[in-house]
């Protein structure tokens, strides 16, 4: 007679862990994948707005204006960035994304009045031409980095790290290094490219201050300089970035995505965006630069509600990566070719996955033509189609943002404040430093 314990799955050694150990034992290699953390972490979903009622009055939803204009880089630069919406597009490289996609990002961003950002592969002519406002990343690899493109940029983002792999460098596997990518990165075609995690010409925060000054000298102090970091020791890191002279600090929480990195990094390094944001704001307050140095938050921002909550907690703007790719068609079971919807199910199957679960950006075999350098696959998403989808999506986010702001009685989305929020869980209350709903309790504070 069988005993129930004979068929009881171990919590510590469940099917996922068994599979992980067997795969490691068989291959001798750790897993590399794209996208962001899949585990559940406290997030903006755990917060809700206390919109207007008798004690506050709302703005008329369809009649009264709610401003979303956003200005970034007011500290030092002669030409700060002026955006129509506080929703920007995060750095994603040509190499990880196709040239068509980079162009689509630029077109959509320009249409809705926001910025897009280069990535670990330099600036392509397509994205410069299509982007009214383009942020040029300065990464440890310095692939394709040059003074001509630097001077064409509207802002410079010094990348110290990103949420998916704080402390780790870039990775682009050989199947995505085609002739054009190889030439831009000065690498042989088809090799696995592992870019550095430390900058080649500076190391600590004291050096960073001098490096930022050099970039300002080269660009005649014209454009703002952002400093982007993965969310780990946020309070200390933000203070060091401010001390180093950053005009804008960008904090990328652990839900942030990547085109390729070690799975162990994605799931086990960094802190959730929800926890990172209040720490960053606190650091700016303690440095007395709130309002002088702007803060962009990223990592798992998907909806207008996420944007509104981020702004209420003190961000000046947000940056989106994965959500942008989803808007373009990532993980969809069809793609559009010559106006027809074509089934991509078999392409997903060839990768051993299915629409809705895919994280195979690192393979370059993207079934919907987004994270690829394969000419055939790239045709599956044209700049026109991609730009239209993304423009619609960004428009919806801003409409949702202003809807919530109006309902909170705000005529400007930047007037949203911490007092407008409560948390649904104790964890979220502690991280966001807002009261647990129905109480005055902020764990750790009251």
């Amino acid at each position: 007679m069988s005993h129930p314990i004979d068929r009881e799955e171990s919590a510590g050694y469940d099917r996922h862990v068994l599979s992980y150990i067997r795969h490691a034992a068989a291959s001798g290699l750790y897993d590399i994948r794209g996208m962001g953390a899949k585990r559940a972490v406290p997030s903006f979903d755990d917060l809700v707005f206390l919109t207007a009622s008798a004690s506050r009055y709302p703005l008329e939803g369809y009649r009264e204006r709610c401003e979303s204009k956003t200005v970034l880089g007011t500290r030092v630069a002669k030409q700060p960035i002026e955006l129509d919406i506080p929703i920007t597009i995060a750095g994603m490289s040509f190499g990880s994304l196709s040239a068509n996609v980079k162009e689509a990002l630029g077109r959509a961003a320009t249409e809705v009045g926001t910025s897009t950002t280069t990535g670990d592969g330099g600036m392509t002519p397509e994205e410069r031409e299509s982007s009214k406002t383009l942020v040029y990343q300065c990464l440890p690899s310095r692939y394709g980095f040059n003074p001509d493109d630097l001077r064409k940029a509207d802002a410079i983002e010094m990348v110290i790290g990103q949420g998916a792999k704080p402390g780790g460098g870039g990775m682009l596997l050989g199947q995505k290094i085609n002739a054009r990518v190889a030439e831009m990165r000065t690498l042989p075609e088809g090799i696995d490219q592992r870019s550095a995690c430390r900058h080649p010409d500076w190391t600590g925060p004291d050096d960073l201050r001098i490096k930022i000054e050099e970039l300002r000298e080269i660009t005649d102090w014209r454009v703002p300089i952002y400093v982007k970091m993965g969310a780990t020791r946020v309070r200390e890191d933000v203070k060091l970035a401010v001390k180093a002279g950053a005009d804008v600090v960008v904090i990328d929480g652990m839900q942030g995505g990547t085109a390729a990195t070690q799975q162990v990094f994605i799931e086990h390094a960094g802190i959730p965006t929800l926890a990172a944001l209040p720490l960053a704001v606190q650091a700016l307050e303690e440095m007395n630069v709130l309002g002088e140095v702007q803060l962009i938050i990223s990592g798992g921002i998907r909806t207008g509600a996420d944007v509104a909550k981020a702004l209420a907690l003190g961000a000046d703007a947000v940056a989106l990566g994965q959500a942008v790719l989803i808007a373009l068609g990532c993980n969809h079971d069809t793609y559009q070719l010559h106006g027809e919807e074509i089934d991509a199910v078999e392409d997903y199957m060839r990768l051993g996955t299915a629409a809705g679960y895919c994280h195979h950006c690192h393979t370059g075999m993207c079934p919907v033509g987004i994270t690829t350098q394969d000419a055939e696959l790239e045709r599956r998403l044209t700049p026109e189609v991609g730009a239209k989808r993304l423009r619609n999506y960004l428009q919806v986010l801003n409409m949702e943002l202003t809807t919530l702001a109006r309902a909170c009685g705000k005529s400007n989305v930047h007037h949203l404040e911490r007092e407008d929020l409560v948390a649904l869980t104790i964890e979220a209350a502690a991280m966001a430093k807002v009261p647990l709903a129905g109480t005055d309790w902020i764990p750790g504070q009251t």
Binding site: S27, G28, L29, Y30, I32, S141, R142, F145, N146, P147, L150, L173, G174, R185, T186, L187, P188, I191, D192, R194, A196, P200, D201, W202, D207, I210, K211, E213, E214, E217, I218, T219, D220, W221, Q262
Partner: protein, 229 residues
């Protein structure tokens, strides 16, 4: 023949000096002398015209950073990252250079007449560097393309994780880094070293140099390579 200008950094800021240099057109000024550099940073950064810049004294970090076309000479020592990301032209340091000299340089020639510290030529992307003296540890780390010539000795982990750059060393090599390999010098190598020494104005016999290049065992993701990914 253009004129010569003098900029005294005890009287004007680096920012004012650089803005003057950035405004120059080819041939407008033949030579700009920078006086009293006194360890200041980012002098002559971001130049993009054919002009000779003579820096009279010791200078700080990021001297002649991202240089294009200009010929910059430092009559003294420099701090970190001289000629970082150099694209073209020539940068010459008459004294010694601190860390990361010529980091990520895409083109042009960097000459350090004295010694260079660690990570000289790190992440090199096509530039050429000639060091009259010795270089410190991890020089040419992850260098992708271009050439580093070291007339003295090389410190530990030379050429770690090299891609397609080539290193020539005349003196002793303390140790090679991961995936770096000492190879036979060919006639082409001798000619290349002789060309670079001549360009640098340094007189050694090219036959005294050793060649270090990538073993290319890290080019593809595999479990058997002796490495830490």
């Amino acid at each position: 023949m253009g004129r010569t200008e003098q900029l005294d950094l005890s009287k004007i800021s680096v920012r004012e000096a650089n803005q003057f240099l950035h405004g120059l057109q080819n041939g407008e000024v033949a030579c700009v002398e920078i006086l009293q550099p006194d360890g200041l940073h980012s002098i002559a950064a971001g130049l993009d015209c054919e002009v000779a810049v003579e820096i009279r004294g010791h200078a700080g970090y990021f001297i002649a950073g991202m240089n294009k076309r200009a010929t910059v000479t430092v009559h003294g020592n420099v701090g970190w990252s001289v000629a970082e990301n150099i694209m073209s032209g020539e940068v010459r340091v008459k004294g010694h250079a601190s860390e990361s000299a010529g980091a990520s340089g895409h083109g042009g020639l960097l000459v350090i007449e004295g010694d260079a510290s660690s990570r000289c030529g790190i992440s090199l992307k096509g530039g050429e560097i000639v060091v009259g003296g010795s270089v410190g540890h991890f020089s040419a780390f992850m260098a992708q393309a271009g050439t580093l010539v070291v007339c003295g000795d090389a410190g530990p982990n030379l050429g770690d994780s090299l891609y397609e750059a080539t290193i020539y060393v005349r003196g002793a090599i303390h140790s090679l880094g991961a995936d770096a390999l000492e190879e036979e010098m060919t006639a082409d190598d001798h000619a290349e070293v002789a060309r670079l020494l001549a360009a640098a104005g340094i007189d050694y016999d090219a036959r005294e140099f050793k060649r270090v290049a990538s073993a290319r065992s890290l080019y593809h993701w595999n479990a058997d390579a002796d490495q830490e990914y």
